[in-house]
Symmetry: D2
């Protein structure tokens, strides 16, 4: 898991980064809550599945934020910068259906 | 986020619970890693999106474990117990496509 | 694509089969509509993507119907029949997250 | 289901359109195959679910093609054209997680 990087100088927008961080902190708290549920030896499978689904939804929303910011700040300007091949390849890697 | 519960006495299988816990601890560590990435103001959107996708995959695997255990231990015996309406309704709520 | 089959005698419930057929006929019509869109050399990518997403949603609903029927009629009785290993393995193959 | 359109003059790339059409014709054939399966009153739920999943995968691949073409030909140049707000909003509508 590398940070920043890469010489291309493209960075996640500051306010979006802050928002993503806040939401991920809440995701982390949610995961900790599921971990506590799992200490209870009477926990019911479906209650765990529901919580996993909720965490998945929250992660998806963080992804939406970051994706939208990336589209706005880096993808729509890729042709001007001349790095569109890399930008499109990276994005397809993330977005592609299987 | 309620624990165990519900009077129906159906419980997540012990070894599966342990496995789910181990995997969720690793998910939590992964989320903490993304939180650290997000402290770096040069972090690149796509690196964050890749990590979010990896966490999503790991969560999905925890879900698979719990789902399989639920099918094996509770769903295939629902008609014998007589709670098949509840069991099917709960499962569809989790599994349904939108 | 094999039909019916398999010696286990488990069959898709008649009314559900009819409903699935009606919905799939509509999916087929929708696909034909996209094929017509694609004959127009001014068609816009996003209009195609929206229609593909709509078809995907319609297919998902057919899947929900068939899945619910399978759960109700075959999965909850699997232990009584003694074929629960097969039933669970088949279902996980379809439902599992990657 | 509107064709082309919209005054913005952005069009799905010709060869991609042809490829999408070929693949959608195959999807249509696949759907017709499932319709034939559903005429058989001994058809097994899981066989239908498997075929629906296969169609879903094939549709997803058509979507990948069209999406990649849209990124390459329209999204990376949006800032130059000045329609980036619309382009990003449209794309998020399609790509967003729920």
């Amino acid at each position: 898991m590398e940070g920043g990087c890469c010489g291309h100088g493209l960075r996640l927008d500051g306010p979006v980064r802050d928002d993503a961080r806040r939401r991920l902190l809440s995701v982390k708290g949610h995961v900790e809550g599921i971990l506590r549920m799992l200490e209870d030896d009477t926990v019911y499978c479906v209650d765990v599945l529901k919580q996993l689904k909720a965490v998945d939804g929250a992660l998806g929303k963080v992804g939406n934020l970051v994706l939208q910011s990336h589209l706005r700040h880096h993808v729509v300007t890729a042709h001007e910068r001349g790095d569109e091949d890399r930008i499109v390849a990276e994005l397809m890697e993330i977005l592609k259906y299987r």
